[in-house]
Amino acid sequence: MAATKPKSLRKKLEKATPYLLVLPVVAYYAIFWLRPVIAVVIGSLTDANGALTLHNFAMVLNDEKFWPAFNNTAIIVVASVTIEFIGALFLALLINRKFFGSSIFLFLTLIPMALPAVATGAMWITGFTAHGWLNSLLYYLGFLAEGDKIYWLGGLEANTFKLLVLVILVDAWQVIPSMMIILLAGLQNLPEETKEAGYVFGGNYMTVLRKITMPMLRPTIQTAVILRLISAIQIWLIIVLLLGFGRLPVLVERIVYYHEEVPGLDISYQMSAGYTIIVSVIVSLTALVYLRASGAFKKEEAA
């Protein structure tokens, strides 16, 4: 009997191994993620005196900037995810052709991803000011007459639409590389023969891309898009760097605005907590809808 004791312990330990391996992550998330999240949830449900209330959400929904922020965010998400996906896919397909110098090309395309937000901020701020490098370049190229200037971010004609377009382009510039590497890895892991078979049986570049490459790439596309979708809804820093608070309100910018810019108000904390919860709910729902619509859940159901 004594001989069986150590054996069962070993077996138990072996069974427990994966759980022991993931335990640190779970504990870490509990302490450094769940705890602050709970704090925010509680903050969103209590008033300044600590009493339970739903009033905070009502305040957020009645905030004059809530709906503009919501709409701006929605437009940015739809446009930027679309543009970024197409751009990233294009670059990934190009690099995957493995032409001479494609490795250096890859490195160069990754540079926007490596640049810190403050560096890109500095880059676009100095570009978009009236006497910045963008106008200078246009002048040298002959598109701008002497003394003529485009007021990219300001001036009378600075309407929301123009600002949105600029923000979306600037965001795409920085984000495309990180989406591209995921797609590129997926492309490189596709067996070459499947594409070759497509060509042998009479496909041209576009049909092979549409009928073979893209469907096989689907899990990778899902990964790339869901990651991007989640962070696109939370865009704000580049907007504040370029425009400051309030000129082009978006949802997460409102969180920071209430907490950092107007911390003195009675309702500041409640407003920022309320906004946070609403943003989280929107992100979760969007992610869920996307995963469901794109069929990411299907394989688990089938298994």
Partner: protein
């Protein structure tokens, strides 16, 4: 050396999937035992349980009489050649072979001696300082074998070690493995799905199917005395030809009757079927036991559909009731394709099977 006993071992994955179903098996000292079966039959799982890489759900495994069922692999005194070789790509050939010896805290000079000895045995002496990536598939295979024999294990396990080699190399490595086994004298368990490999290399073959052992025996036994339809079909190329026949008795002799032939059995075969009282029977005849004869000695005349000369012999195929029947005959005389051939069975080698149970009758 050592014996290996597998006693009533079962392996379940999850609740439903039974990979190995209550098998028992003994491997004798210095024996070369082959576990043979189609993919998914449980042979690799059985071997991995012996290695300790797979937990045993029920049952006991003994090496030299010692219960190793719950010991980790390193305490079992075994070694293994993996299907994909599993030689470590970041270590040189020398380090690959020496790794296990170092873990045993052997003296440096001793390790050096053993590595050079096994490298000599496997003809990789000149590659000791190379990395695996610089070796061909066959050379990598030799490294895996050298690594496995260096530790002088009690039991030597090989999991389809030749399946990644090209056809020609596979046959020559087969001979070499047999020679290495003869000199190393290790108790060996060898897993394969290739019956000709099993036939040529094994002292004893264990045929598995659906997690169960179907037959155990020497290559000759499983070939000549196949226990059931599955084994008779699985072993041998071309496989056994099967004929559905009806048993008829007239004048004290038994006849096996089929629309194409009427075979009257000799006394010995009649005796074998004495206790059998069903009307239907499956007759099994090995391709080399169907003989080309003159019209007068034949029991049937068929149209030769395909004639494949093989040099030393020829394979003739004809069709009977939509089923292809193959005959292995001496290379002469060579019938023309489409001509009529006259055939008989050699009575001493007939196999009878019960169509309902699929088991052999009259052994």
């Amino acid at each position: 050396m050592a014996t290996l006993e597998i006693l009533n071992v079962t392996k379940r994955f999850g609740r439903k999937v039974i990979a190995v179903d209550d098998i028992s098996l003994e491997v004798h000292d210095q024996e070369f035992l082959v576990l043979l079966g189609p993919s998914g039959c449980g042979k690799t799982t059985t071997m991995r349980m012996v290695a300790g890489l797979e937990e045993v759900t029920e049952g006991t495994i003994l090496i030299d009489g010692v219960d190793v069922t719950d010991l980790p692999p390193r305490k079992r005194n075994i070694s293994m050649v993996f299907q994909n070789y599993a030689i470590w790509p970041h270590m040189t050939v020398f380090e690959n072979i020496a790794y296990a010896l170092r873990l045993k805290h052997m003296a440096k000079s001793e390790i050096d001696r053993i590595v050079r000895e096994v490298a000599g045995m496997t003809n990789i002496g000149e590659y000791l300082e190379r990395l695996p990536a610089q070796l061909s598939g066959g050379q990598q295979q030799r490294v895996a074998v050298a690594r496995a024999i260096a530790v002088s294990p009690k039991v030597f396990l090989m999991d389809e070690p030749l399946s990644n080699l090209d056809a020609k190399l596979r046959v020559s490595m087969r001979t070499e493995l047999k020679a290495i086994h003869a000199s190393a004298k290790a108790t060996t368990v060898f897993v394969t799905h290739d019956q000709s490999e099993a036939m040529s290399i094994a002292d004893r073959i264990v045929i598995m199917r659906d997690g169960k052992i179907i037959q155990t025996g020497t290559p000759e036994e499983v070939y000549e005395k196949s226990a059931n339809l599955f084994v008779a079909d699985f072993i041998g190329t071309p496989p056994t030809n099967f004929f559905d026949v009806t048993l008829q008795k007239s004048n004290g002799t038994l006849h096996l009757v089929n629309p194409h032939f009427d075979l009257s059995l000799d006394a010995a075969n009649t005796a074998r079927l004495n206790g059998y009282n069903k009307e239907q029977l499956v007759l099994g005849v090995r391709p080399e036991n169907i003989v080309l004869t003159s019209e007068k000695d034949s029991i049937m005349g068929m149209t030769a559909l395909v004639v494949e000369p093989q040099g030393s012999h020829q394979v003739i195929a004809f069709k009977m009731d939509e089923k292809m029947v193959k005959v292995v005959a001496p290379s002469q005389p060579k019938p023309d394709m489409g001509s009529t051939i006259h055939l008989n069975f050699s009575q001493g080698t007939l196999r009878f099977f019960d169509p309902e149970t699929t088991f052999a009758i009259g052994d």
